[in-house]
Symmetry: C2
Subunit: 438 residues, 2 copies
């Protein structure tokens, strides 16, 4: 392993002289000021001029080095650890909540030695980070996988669904899935289709900042998720995240209706074309939707965990090359979700390749890159023409949920006619009522 | 031409019996009620049971036909026309505003005979729809093209830019571009890059409902656009649309910062990662941005209208097939905008194809499908790895503007190194200042 990852030039020279390694506690003296912290690695593409240390308050500081700067190593590298209190007695009269970790920021701590991330979701780790959990539920913590969420595939969805089904069999009161935020919306949709007729809530939760940072949203989100798993009246797949940038409320978004809409804010997740399912304020969970599936442990789960990866999402734009559609058809793809413009349009230059795709039994569905609103292919000629070709209007499903649904539909049946019926059927509130107008 | 497009079954029978053609004024008698209006065409995919007429208030009504229903033809088909007052005297002391029509809903009237749309942007048509215009400016109306905006290409951008440059040469006070809303955001970004160092405002305007519907936003938007072209203090490319669903205010969005975020609402256009440029309330245009380019007729326009179509926009998703990237490389594409997850990530399975693309001198830029926020490829290993491969972080440019910018950059230079510099340079406020944090 590289000894000083990312450091170059004068900064590297000073670090070598001080014999300071990544993770060591160092002092940087500059213009009569002294900064103390843990040396952390840099990216290859950062400049040569700064040394970056993690201060005791958790924040990172970049200090530019010049001729006068001095560096002293004052301690051996030690990973900052959370204080680990003795594991509290589990109160087994409390609701039984299973926390399944799949990876991502919420389930990890940064390893300062490598700059990498390691999963840290044992029950005792959890209690040490969030001691309040022991008052809410008897927690069982399980590591299912440890992936950055951009690497999650439908195979992971399959495994999550099977694992959760097992926990339901074992009489869990509720299940929490810790997940990276990047693709948590896709997974929430996938589990909504895979876990039908749920008897209990399944709550996905992530965090936008890791738990070892003072500004982390991990603890508040996790507490919210566990409260919902333990006590919420609904039995649906939902995402629990901050409702605003403040820590006051956690919002539960229906799994097929939610999307990450900001790269970094705590309230990045938004319900699309729908209000959220419910909201947690203090200890009270208030339902925001009237119609929801109620918790009922006698209900029999219907597990349908198969997905088909041969589905593409194609975003249309001016100048888009329609030949890409033929590439997918030629490469054995069975479904295409178009992210068209406005009410569901693509250039008329795409008509012929789309016609060919549909003749070849490829399922083609139309959504809108607007994200909000519903496609309506009856208003303009382009939409009518696309309908005539056989492109299926997908109402107010936004592109990501439509993609996951088509992957799921084509995992259920290979018959294009049956698939079309299932695709346009409201399986789990992924559509809302069509406002009728001509 | 089909005589009764979309009509089938009993509805068709009744229409034939009544000898009513599309566009004819008919009466439908049903359960002692009588409805009167113009017969309009239906889509192939509508049910067989309804006859649809356009009422005198502009709304369409579907009436289900049963055994008792009777239909009477009471008038020959006539297209409802706007009253056409005599063309007002142009007051040549007023600001000179050129309205360039490119097509779309705002510039069209529905032809009830075909269900199609025809452009209607002569000066006298405009004054007949919006007589107020003659008090604001001396209007010159020009039809440049008549396209649904999903069919707009970079060649149209080129022609618009040249045409507008001409009008500036001819001393226009301001230019209004009437455009379909579907791809108006892309065109606004394109014109922002193509028309640099603007002396006057260039205002794109569309409408979500056509001008012959009582609920149309066309007139209010057009008046707002003309007021800005005539009087706004800024000299930038902007989109003028409703700020809310009510008619009270028109908002001007900077061309590189705006996106259609709803399929049908009047306030569908939103400024992304920025407040709007300005707002019109009554007759007052209030600037919402402090930094803007001021109107200055002595400023010399710099026209750079060339774009390169060999640029792809690829939205990443779980299960996405990286081979599509190789297809683009093999087919001579020079640039790829990735719409990654979160802070700018794709699956590590994409690393090798991306490496190959970049070795082949293809410019690859990273944006986020979150839409809001900025990519930051220094936080997680995936981002750092992508940076190392040579994927270019595009800050807080959202995918659509990033695509248009890359098309423009590769229209300016073929040298990949020069292109990279231009791509990451702030040309026309498409980036905002980076919040520095590690």
């Amino acid at each position: 392993m590289e000894k000083f990852p990312g450091y170059k030039g004068r900064a590297l020279l000073l670090l070598k002289k001080a014999k300071a390694k990544i993770g060591d506690r160092i002092q940087v003296l500059k213009e009569k000021e002294t900064f103390e912290g843990l040396l952390i690695p840099r990216s290859e593409f950062d400049d040569h001029k700064h040394i970056v240390i993690k201060l005791s308050n958790g924040y990172n500081l970049g200090i530019s080095v010049d001729q006068e700067t001095e560096i002293k190593r004052i301690g051996k590298g030690e990973r900052p650890t959370f204080s680990t209190p003795p594991l509290p007695e589990q109160n087994l009269t409390l609701p039984k909540v299973v926390i399944v970790s799949t990876g991502g920021t919420i389930a990890s701590r940064v390893d300062y030695r490598t700059g990498g991330v390691r999963p840290a979701l044992t029950a005792s780790d959890l209690y040490s980070i969030v001691p309040e959990l022991s008052d809410i539920a008897a927690i069982k913590a399980q590591i299912l996988s440890s992936k950055l969420s951009e690497n999650i595939t439908s195979h992971d969805w399959y495994q999550m669904a099977k694992h959760i089904a097992n926990q339901i069999e074992l009489k869990a009161t509720g299940v929490v899935v810790a997940h990276g935020t990047d693709t948590m919306g896709y997974t929430a949709a996938a589990l909504s289709f895979a876990l039908q007729n749920l008897p209990i809530p399944v709550i996905l939760v992530g965090s936008q900042r890791s738990a070892d940072r003072p500004s982390s949203d991990a603890a508040v989100n996790l507490i919210g998720a566990v409260k919902a798993a333990a006590n919420a009246p609904f039995a649906e797949v939902a995402i629990a995240m901050h409702g605003t940038v403040s820590d006051d409320s956690i919002v539960f978004h229906r799994g097929v209706r939610v999307r990450k809409c900001h790269t970094s804010r705590r309230d990045a997740f938004k319900s699309i074309n729908s209000e959220p399912l419910a909201k947690l304020e203090g200890n009270r969970i208030r339902m925001l939707k009237r119609n929801y599936r109620k918790r009922d442990t006698n209900r029999k789960l219907s597990l349908k965990p198969r997905f088909n990866d041969k589905v593409a999402l194609i975003k249309f734009h001016p100048g888009a090359d329609g030949k890409i559609i033929s590439w997918y058809v030629d490469n054995g793809f069975k479904g295409i979700i178009l992210e068209g413009t406005g009410l569901g349009h693509v250039s008329s230059k795409h008509f012929s390749v789309l016609r060919r795709a549909i003749e070849d039994k490829v399922l083609v569905g139309m959504t809108s890159q607007c994200i909000w609103g519903r496609v309506n292919m009856n208003v303009y000629n382009t939409g009518r023409e696309l309908s005539k070709i056989g492109v299926i209007s997908l109402g107010d499903m936004f592109p990501e949920t439509a993609l996951v649904k088509m992957m799921w539909v084509l995992g259920q049946t290979k018959d294009p006619e049956k698939a079309k019926v299932l695709l346009t059927q409201n399986v789990t509130e992924e559509f809302s009522d069509r406002t009728k107008f001509h």
